[in-house]
């Protein structure tokens, strides 16, 4: 029975995959030249509107419709629980927005969880039954543009985009809007993601280092020496040789936004950027996993694995955080938010643990090099033929203004804040679209503000709620270290992770391309599998390091060359 069901679903999903790939005709060009249109402030005045008005600029951006306008959206259900009587489509946030703009937001459908939401959007696209507006991902956006299913928002944005929204997009130097632009026309309003999530830092047990009289490592070789010391010199002092060196993950590298245990930073210290598209020294677009620099990094990792300096079982864990939480290891790679997880659990299991983050290893010129993540990964789109596309932009204006604490309706804002506090909900989860615009350096900025406030240089009363919360937790943590883990998490994430990001001069490498090309749709999965298996086998010694060369030629033969060509074309525009 079970088998039959599974196979039926498999058959179904295969059919879906085939169908969807059939839908995506022609390689869209996500990475168009949108820089132009994002800065041109007035790209024409032919935007449709039901309320002819003389208003301009922000007056128009927030102007209330004289007649009620209704817009149906696809809504992502949050985990929060609203107060009694409030629902996902009728709550203080939705009532405020409706009162402000006279736009009635209805939920065509709701879905809970990222996967379910994505599924629902895919079905909406496949069945050509879009809500008036919704948030889609990069590949979905391309499908929608290719099939001419979404409105061109260029003029609407030019006319109705608020000063604030423009400023946020400008903070990405046009990158965000360029991502949603094809042939100079903007088809979606992108989010602006936080830059800090991309670099992978070395997290290390400072108390172990101190105990063994070691200095924090700067190069891969120093890192290996410390791993050796951690394994052999019993840093946890239990008399047993039960500690590990560097831990890893069977994915080897994450590529864009890392999770714990990726070896991304080791690769980038050799100037290898697996899973990213980069330019080689001749200026050609090349896939980062096949450059010769990878071979050096793999050789080093294989050497470390052979010497036992990398956790011999790293490829076997079901959940990568296990050796970290069990305090068996004193070093691993991870992004700035590691104290949230898994370190909070590790410290709960051993309160003596003192973790510190370092931007290391450095390359041969002594510089920390890191790949970056895309500035945007979600887009607000409007269904082709919806008569008030500006309503979506107006909603975006309005909730971005709330989010950035610059809504002039102070009383209403206070009510919203009070409601959020009283019911422990996040108001932002009830904006009609899950599309936050943040300054891309938000984490670093918050770290600086909090540190300045702790020194008494800034008044925490002026902070936005998120920063204020981090400040409050930092104070609690300072007074009573490790007593309240809920305070420890943000305090340490910002102090250690944010601190390193703020004080390190990094060489940031942006991938030239993040989307999917036509050939990728059919071949990418197997190429990724080939890549991952080869990297993993080389590290654990199942394959010699020279197998990398075979991998490169296989990769090219199995569709890599074709994909590289497609990506080059798209990048070149």
């Amino acid at each position: 029975m079970a088998n039959y069901r599974t196979s039926k679903w498999m058959a179904a999903s295969i059919a879906l995959a085939v169908l969807l790939s059939a839908c995506g005709s022609g390689g869209g060009s996500d990475a168009g030249d949108g820089g132009k249109s994002s800065t041109s402030s007035d790209a024409g005045d032919k935007g449709t509107t039901t309320t002819p008005s003389d208003a301009k600029g922000d007056a128009l951006a927030y102007e209330k419709y004289s007649e009620p306008v209704s817009i149906s959206v696809g809504f992502k259900i949050p985990d929060d629980k609203l107060g009694a009587g409030d629902t996902n489509d009728n709550n203080p946030v939705s009532r405020y927005l409706e009162g402000l703009l006279n736009i009635k937001v209805t939920h065509a459908w709701e879905a809970k969880g990222d996967d379910a939401f994505k599924q629902k959007v895919n079905l909406a696209i496949a069945s050509n039954d879009l809500p008036d507006a919704m948030v889609v991902d990069r590949n979905q956006l391309r499908k929608l543009i290719d099939n001419d299913m979404v409105e061109d928002l260029t003029d609407v944005y030019a006319k109705y985009g608020s000063e604030l929204v423009r400023a946020m997009y400008d903070s990405t130097k046009g990158l965000a809007l360029a991502d949603a632009t094809v042939d100079g026309r903007i088809y979606g309003m992108p989010n602006v993601a936080i830059e800090a999530d991309a670099p992978s830092l070395l997290w290390i047990r400072q108390d172990w280092l101190d105990k063994l009289n070691l200095q924090a490592p700067k190069t891969v070789d120093e890192l290996a020496a410390i791993a050796k010391a951690f394994i052999e010199q019993d840093p946890d002092g239990n008399g047993k040789k039960d500690t590990l060196g560097l831990t890893g993950d069977k994915q080897v590298v994450y590529g864009q936004k890392p999770n714990p245990n990726g070896f991304d930073s080791i690769f980038s210290s050799y100037h290898a950027f697996p899973k990213n598209w980069i330019k080689d020294k001749d200026g050609n677009v090349v896939y980062g996993s096949i450059t010769p620099e990878n071979k050096d990094a793999l050789a080093k990792l294989a050497e470390m694995y052979k010497a036992g300096l990398i956790d011999p079982q790293f490829a076997l864990y079901k959940e990568t955080q296990e050796p970290i939480v069990a305090n068996k290891t004193g070093m691993f790679f991870g992004p700035w938010w590691m104290p949230y997880w898994p370190l909070a659990d590790a410290v709960a299991n051993d309160t003596k643990a003192e973790w510190k983050a370092y931007a290391t290893p450095l390359d041969k010129d002594g510089k920390f090099v890191t790949h970056m993540a895309p500035v945007t990964d979600r887009y607000l789109v409007v269904r082709k033929g919806y008569k008030n596309p500006e309503a979506a932009v107006k909603l975006l204006n309005a909730f971005t203004r709330i989010e950035r604490r610059s809504d002039p309706n102070k009383d209403e804002m206070k009510k919203l804040d009070d409601y959020a506090t009283a019911n422990t909900v996040q108001n932002r989860n009830y904006y009609p679209f899950d599309l936050l615009l943040d300054y891309s350096d938000a984490v670093v900025k918050r770290y600086k503000d909090v540190q300045a406030a702790l020194k008494g240089e800034l008044d925490p009363a002026t902070f936005d709620p998120d920063t204020k919360q981090v400040y409050d937790y930092s104070v609690i943590e300072k007074e009573n270290p490790k007593k309240n883990m809920d305070a420890w998490k943000p305090a340490k994430a910002y102090e250690l992770g944010g601190g390193v990001l703020a004080t390190t001069d990094m060489e940031k490498i942006y991938s030239l391309f993040y989307g999917t090309t036509k050939t990728m749709e059919t071949k990418w999965t197997s190429l990724q599998k080939l890549e991952n298996e080869t990297f993993l086998k080389i590290i654990v010694g199942d394959l010699p390091v020279d197998a990398f060369d075979t991998f490169v030629s296989d990769w090219k033969k199995l569709g890599g060359d074709q994909i590289t060509k497609e990506v080059s074309d798209l990048v070149a525009g």
Binding site: D129, E319, A326, D345, L436
Partner: protein
Amino acid sequence: MVGRNNVQNRIIDQSILVVLVVITLACLIPLLHTVAVSFSDKSAADAGRVLLTPIKPTLASYSKVLDDSQFFTSFYISIKRVVLGGLLNFVITIMMAYALSKDSKQFPLRNVYMWFLVFTMMFSGGIVPWFMTVKSYGLLDSMWALVLPHAVQTFNVILLMNFFRNLPKELSEAAEIDGAGPWYTMIRLYVPLSLPAIATVTLFSIVFHWNSFFDGLILMNHQEHYPLQTYIQTLVAQLSAQAMTAMTPEQLAEAMAVSNRTFGAAKIIVSMIPILVIYPFLQRFFIHGITLGSVKE
């Protein structure tokens, strides 16, 4: 001679016992481990220290699962679905199986229907056509979307049909001679004689309806209409890299507050209980309906 046989027998018995105990443990231990994890402190569970007894016992995971009134709404929907869907499957499966158990002389179009049925088992239209079909029937967001598309459980029909075919032909011939029509024969003869098989397919369809979460996810447009498994499935504090990229740091922090392992274990236990409760009630049917001796050959 006798003594040796006894010794031999005992050795064989003992080895059978050992094998059975090993098999039993292989079934039980993962379950006990899951129970232990579900009651454990999340740090301990994440570090992989929990084996068969909870470490630092806590009910945190269960309170997170049960904490929302939506849990009970969804529970009710699931019960409704199982009762409605189960009944529908029950009636249709028996009727189809009975008709198809006749040969093509008695039922000329039998093979056509049979192939039609088997075809659906081999090939599937895929998610999108399925979704669009349900949508065009106007079933989206209603209980019927969960029940009607699964009204015919092909596998169950074939199972029961084969069981019906194995019943002695003489029985139905005898009934016919005594003046029983097809309905009467089916209800008074075939059904009572096939209780074990019917109990099996009913259990299958109950478990199927109880466990399916995916159609709820796709076909329901509002959370209030999610059946329990769909609701529980969406409760995850998933840490997949995919989910991660779409999260703000604050959401991330929230997601990390509940450990995946203990939470997942609690979800498994909670959703398992109703089936565990139903099973013993159906089990007593498994031994009934013996046709032995009804026909002299």
